[in-house]
Amino acid sequence: MLVTQNTRPVVSSNFDFSQYIKPDWKHAKKYNRLGKNVIELPIDPSAPLASAIKNQTTGKILNPKENSRSSFILLNDGKNYEAYVMTLLADSAYAKSNPGWASNNTYQKRDPAFSGLVLYFTPKGQYVSGYAFKNGQQVIPAGQNTTTSTTTKSQLTRSFRPRTRVETIYDCTAWYLVEYDQWGNITSMTFLYYTDCTPELGGDDSGGGGGSPSSATPPPPQCQPPGGGAVVVNNGLTRVTQPPPGGGDGGMPPPDPCPTQTTVTLPDTTGCGKAAALSALATNAAQAAQDATILNNTTATGIENGANENLTGWPGNNYMNTPVTPGTAITWTPTFTWNPTNGYTIGYKHGHGAGDAPSPVDIAAIVYPIGNNHDLINAGQAAMQFYKANASVTAETTAGNYTVTISDWTAIQNIITNSFSTDAEKLAFNTNYQTLGNAYFSNTANATVGDAGVYALMQLFGNSITIYFNPAGSKTYTPLTVVTDAGGNKIIAVLQCP
């Protein structure tokens, strides 16, 4: 994705890695470490990321952004996945004397002479934990008895007042992670942690130690309750004591999430996770029979047939046996319900006898309920989240099934609201879709109309959607993506999932 400064998050918010960088699955390394299966993935070079650490008090950036490297770390203990972004920030002197430092320092293996920081984040950008090394030795943080304020944490840069009768003022050094895009523009600053908190005695404080990342020794993780914010104890605040880090096997110390954060959802930035779920559903006999009826009826009559995908309850994955109904030659109208009698609609599937992929209005049909279905809206936030996580629309063709899911609801709502609301907007949107699809078909070798439609949708909806394809006769859905061929043409390709 082309990233511009205007599209990046605002300064001071968490940097949502999952929106801007993606794993390079082609160069995944798989191994077992510390009792967990590990997949280590570099950042896809099409959207590089550079980071630096900044002392907010002095404004000093402690490392050139070139001395940073991030990668995705997926850990699986046999039951749950944990996903992290590991960011390494090398001290300048170390990087200078070890030009190949980045390849010598991975999650699996740490250079015995490494000097710098190892920071772990959730894919959504929340700081998890970090470690400092100097000449290969871990730098143990000084005693950390600081407190912090739930409401002011993100604004503080220098001092704060605990909410106690004793109005002690602490001086702290606030450390931020600064993110740069591929053009070197600062795109976000994420608060990491405080160090060197001491009761204020007046005078200058240039806290934070010297001028290298390893001097910004990370404290223990700031564990937070599920609702966010720090844990409040007796009007003060507390932190969970950091257990001794691992890493004695020659690798990097592992991420040390808070007890309430030990399991995070695998970031499905590629769609591989959802593809597996769709493939599993394709093996369901009742669903497969319904798919066959939809396609047979559509091709035999020239009329689009379709069915609502309704669950008997939520959360859950028991599908109702919904009827296959006819539409017209060019449309099939879904019926959304969110009640125990008619079921909980999480998607639609319908036949496209002419072989074309889902259309823009098909995608809009799964977005509309979040704004106009009162049963869903009144069911509360959990129901809404469940719907958003599971909504899909499928076009069934003789070549195979195309399924679209929503990857970014904020983005797609913006697209629908700003570009697909009025009749004039819909006309313009469809013209754009058709023009892009026609151009793809006539500019690409051996193009199919299915791929032409997929290309047009990807151009118009960007990363707000993910499109999957399950070829006829198969039960395996794979995400589709756009790649550039040797001639510089953008073409649709299947993403190989691990």
């Binding site: 060019i330 496209h352 006898g353 002419a354 072989g355 074309d356 259309s359 063709t397 006309l427 469809n430 013209t431 754009n432 879709y433 058709q434 023009t435 892009l436 699809g437 026609n438 151009a439 078909f441 006539s442 500019n443 070798a445 051996n446 193009a447 199919t448 109309v449 299915g450 032409a452 439609g453 001639g487 510089g488 043409n489 953008k490």
Partner: protein, 178 residues
């Protein structure tokens, strides 16, 4: 009657504008009208800016193209694309995809498409208006369905007759190597 006029104009155009048979790659050649001037992508974009009032659809369409064969014939833009690496498609490939393209374009009332056999080549022709520009797009497969070339003509709708003549001239001159 309209068809007859188009045919006559196509014949007259062909007689008057016999150009040069140009090899686009090792597999296919085509006769480029003598009035055609080869232009760069930048020149094509500049022309679209002037002639098509910077229509956003045509600007994107030109910008996304990677072909080396872009020409200007009076006010009509002609882009031709050939492929060095491609697979043989099955018989009926164009016919099947025509159905899908017709469905995809069903909301555009100006859209028409046709399948033709020209010199034993299979040709799918699409014609439609998007924004301020009218398009002819064609996809042409060799008789054995192993080679493909495509093209697009972008023009103001008042230049339709001339564009039709150029299209016919081009399609009648496509030669695939055996």
């Amino acid at each position: 009657m309209k068809k007859i006029i188009f045919l006559i104009s196509a014949v007259l155009y062909s007689l008057a504008s016999v150009g040069q048979q140009v090899a686009l790659n090792n597999e296919v050649s085509i006769n480029i009208p003598k009035e055609a001037k080869k232009i760069t992508k930048e020149e094509a974009l500049a022309h679209a800016g002037r002639r098509f009032n910077s229509d956003k659809y045509v600007l994107k369409s030109i910008n996304d193209r990677t072909t080396r064969y872009t020409y200007k014939v009076n006010d009509i833009l002609v882009s031709l694309t050939v492929f060095d690496h491609m697979a043989k498609v099955k018989e009926g490939f164009l016919s099947e995809n025509k159905k899908g393209l017709d469905a995809m374009n069903s909301s555009n009332k100006t859209y028409t498409s046709s399948l033709q056999k020209i010199n034993n080549n299979s040709v799918l022709i699409m014609n439609y208006i998007a924004g301020e520009v009218e398009y002819y797009r064609f996809v042409c497969y060799s008789p054995d369905n192993s080679k493909e070339m495509t093209g697009v003509l972008e023009f103001d709708k008042i230049d339709k007759n001339e564009a039709t003549s150029i299209l016919n001239h081009l399609l009648n001159s496509i030669k695939f190597k055996d």
